[in-house]
């Protein structure tokens, strides 16, 4: 399936864009993670990388729909 992924902070730099279209083979968050690692190995070097679906932190088992708002959350540093 094809999904649009919002990026922030260092993830935008690694992926060269604030919104990146990805083609993934399965339909779970874990499938998206696998494709991210393959295409952007630098993401694996981050302290953490969460994936938000519709503005909530998601688990790897979660299934994605093409209409979901999907975002990569590298280590936060507010405050």
């Amino acid at each position: 399936m094809q999904i649009k992924v919002k990026t922030f902070g260092i993830a935008s730099e690694i992926m060269s864009g604030k919104e990146v279209v990805m083609e993934i083979s399965g339909n779970s968050v874990a499938d998206l993670r696998r494709e991210l690692s393959r295409k952007y190995p630098s993401l694996d070097k981050l302290n953490s990388l969460f994936i938000a679906v519709n503005r909530n932190y998601s688990e790897d088992e979660m299934e994605l729909k093409e209409t979901d708002e999907i975002a990569l959350i590298p280590p936060v540093s507010g405050g």
Binding site: F8, A71, V76, S77, G78, G79
Partner: protein, 138 residues
Amino acid sequence: MIELTDKFIDVSKIIEAAKHPSAGGLNVFIGTVRDFHAKKNKRVVRLDYEAYEPMAVAEIQKIMNDAIARWDIKAWAISHSVAKLLPSEIAVVIAVSTAHRKASFEACQFIIDQLKARVPIWKKEIFEDGEEWVSAHP
């Protein structure tokens, strides 16, 4: 009140919003930009903030729901910058009022600790000889 702003944070406005006639204690945390990074031994030129705004607001609201469940919070307000800030400028203001003072300290500290841990806001430190997204790498 939750605010993300690319303007200077109006501290007085945030404090006013957190006042309440039945509160005796109002604790305010103000996070400011340090001019020096001790571990790197480098002067800080600027911090560039960025947020996933709708999710940041939602996460702050969740933190507040947790805080309100734990302490008898009478009123509160939070503002966080999404601007480029110079040393001494204000990155975040959290104001929370409770009937008695101890709870205002506890709640305010809980909120800033949680905010730093889970709200999707990022900052890049700009030094004279380079830049770095804070906490991104080990």
